[in-house]
């Protein structure tokens, strides 16, 4: 009887076929809306933003919510990707695809190099160090002649992709990002990551390879954030040191994850949608927008410490995209 109760409390919704079908249907509908012109250009502009922020939110959540690496420097990879795309397409006249690939390559290499230094630090020290490194890169790009210093680089892609194509690409990226995070958490490595988040010393004492786990997550996050940022800047058409390497990027990711629910795969999906609409709404109140965003974050932390999805899942007893392991055979 006890077992029955346990199963009921923890039904993993995605395990049921209907949930999977709903997910596929929603994604398919979004694709159709993008590609057939069903969605207006204005709607697609919102969708692109939401998909890109979802990707970044998922990655920051993977770092902080699932692995315990609270990085304040993920804007580093936003900036590197933005400039990679600008250099590849505008300076070197290469295709957009190569630009995006270059962004990923540069980000991964820098992430690998930085890991040697950054992973010697933990907790707050790691957070601050990541931020400092990102700031240092901003200063570097501000004074680097090749990338036009402080005046920034325009991004001219020929032929310029249609907005529907950008939208479809963003959607693909965000679906892949969610899938990668979910599947990674379902592996043995993912199990170890969750243990690391809760207690890194105990995790190493029960045989979890801390360095390997951190490295994998940090590199995955850098790569996905680079693609998202690359697409973002193509859409924007210009990149400055401040717009690329600003802490604002990470602040957005933190907001999205906190509002949606840290340590839940579904959290950033909800958080990103809320963030984009809030930002749009708050654009009418310049100067107030950050204060209001901050106030909302504080209220959520006070009243819904597990975020919207975290609290909902706890109250209603379901989990979407859960990586939780159960001691009994899966409920069908």
């Amino acid at each position: 009887m006890a077992k029955k109760r346990l199963v009921k409390r923890n039904v993993r919704v995605l395990d049921s076929l209907p949930m999977l079908i709903v997910c596929i249907a929603v994604v398919a509908a979004l694709y159709v809306a993008c590609l057939t012109g069903l969605a207006s250009n204005n709607a697609m502009r919102y969708m692109i933003q939401i998909f890109l922020y979802m990707t970044m939110g998922e990655m920051w959540n993977l770092l902080s919510g699932f692995t315990g690496m609270t990085s304040l420097g993920q804007q580093l990879y936003v900036g590197l990707a933005g400039y990679s795309v600008a250099v590849a397409t505008t300076k070197l006249q290469l295709s957009l695809g190569i630009g995006l690939a270059l962004g990923v390559a540069v980000s991964v290499v820098i992430a690998l190099l930085l890991s040697l230094v950054l992973f010697r630090m933990q907790g707050m020290y790691f957070s601050i160090a990541t931020w400092v490194v990102a700031e240092a890169f901003e200063k570097l790009f501000l004074s680097w002649k090749y990338v036009e210093q402080g005046s920034g680089m325009t991004i001219r892609v020929v032929p310029y992709p249609k907005i529907s194509e950008i939208c479809a690409a963003s959607l693909t990226l965000c679906v892949v990002a969610v899938a990668v995070v979910y599947l990674l958490l379902r592996t043995r490595v993912g199990l170890g990551l969750t243990a690391m988040r809760d207690d890194i010393t105990a995790a190493s004492a029960v045989g979890v390879n801390i360095f390997a786990g951190k490295l994998l997550v940090y590199v995955i996050a850098a790569a996905f954030i680079a693609v998202a940022a690359g697409i973002f800047f193509v859409n924007k058409g210009i990149v400055y040191p401040e717009s690329g390497f600003g802490i604002g990027w990470t602040v957005s990711m933190i907001f999205i994850v906190t509002i949606g629910g840290s340590g839940t795969v579904s959290g950033p999906i909800v958080g990103a949608a809320i963030y984009v609409f809030l930002q749009e709404f708050l654009a009418h109140y310049p100067g107030w927008s950050n204060i209001i965003l901050g106030a909302i974050t504080i209220l959520v932390i006070f009243f819904l410490p597990k975020g919207i999805m975290g609290t909902l899942q706890e109250k209603l007893g379901f989990e979407i995209f859960s990586a939780k392991r159960f001691s009994f055979a899966r409920h069908r």
């Binding site: 243990a195 809760d198 207690d199 010393t201 190493s204 029960v206 045989g207 340590g263």
Partner: protein, 242 residues
């Protein structure tokens, strides 16, 4: 019988502070090896050096015939060192089952399918089976201590390292834990066991070492160690009649 563990002149500490001074001792396979000593004598530091949380500045640690002095903690765990923490460190947001599963998958180098049975049997052995789906953060101290043992068992250790598993518990709970350790011994585990409760240690261990200031001051049959002059002075102060 062969030696499962040898400490050879280990010097270790935190930063510049040296805690272990030329510590040497040997544990035989199948033994329950008790370690006592006053607070600050370096018992827990000895465990930290043993499982690789701190690196010795000199000396060698031989485990199961292999020099592990320079190996990282996760490798040592996979080789068969399973440790409990004096202040329990559960993975608080994971269920008890997941806590032990992590150990069985990573420390035991098993696939999740195989690790599941190992995790469940570890939970059964420590009496936590019925609570296996509870979040570890919600446990009482006794159950946290049990979870420490279950998690160490999950890694399929050759040598089990127990760090004050009975400290801070009520008398009745201490009896529970003692029974558990006796079961583990009967199951054939080699054990190094740090504890303060001297009387119980005499009854439950095969050999006893007393540490003070990072050294081994007495090592031998439990009764003899307890009655040795060194240990009497450390624990009871100087006998005024002498």
């Amino acid at each position: 019988m062969s030696n499962i563990l040898e400490f050879e002149d280990i010097n270790a500490g935190y930063g510049r502070i040296r805690i272990l001074n030329d510590l040497s001792f040997t544990v035989e396979e199948g033994q329950v090896y008790g370690v006592i000593g006053p607070n600050g004598s370096g018992k827990t530091t000895m465990f930290n050096a043993l499982i690789g949380l701190i690196k010795p500045t000199s000396g060698r640690i031989i485990f199961d015939g292999v020099d592990i002095t320079r190996m990282s903690a996760n490798v040592r765990c996979k080789m068969g060192l399973g440790r409990t923490f004096q202040v329990p460190r559960p993975f608080e947001n994971m269920s008890l089952y997941e806590n032990v599963l992590v150990a069985a998958v990573h420390g035991g180098s098993n696939s999740e399918r195989f690790a599941r049975d190992l995790a469940l049997s570890s939970l059964k052995m420590t009496g936590l089976y019925d609570k296996r789906e509870i979040r570890a953060g919600e446990l009482t101290l006794l159950d946290r201590k049990r979870l420490e043992i279950a998690r160490a068992l999950g890694t399929s250790p050759k040598l089990l390292l127990l760090d004050e598993v009975a400290a801070g518990l009520t008398d009745a709970e201490v009896k529970d834990i003692m029974r558990l350790v006796a079961d583990l011994k009967a199951a054939g585990y080699s054990i190094v066991w740090i504890e303060h409760i001297i009387e119980t240690m005499v009854g439950s261990t095969d050999r006893l070492m007393c540490m003070a200031e990072g050294r081994c001051v007495a090592d031998g049959a439990p009764r003899e160690v307890i009655e040795s002059e060194e240990v009497q002075r450390l624990y009871l102060g100087v006998d005024e009649n002498e």
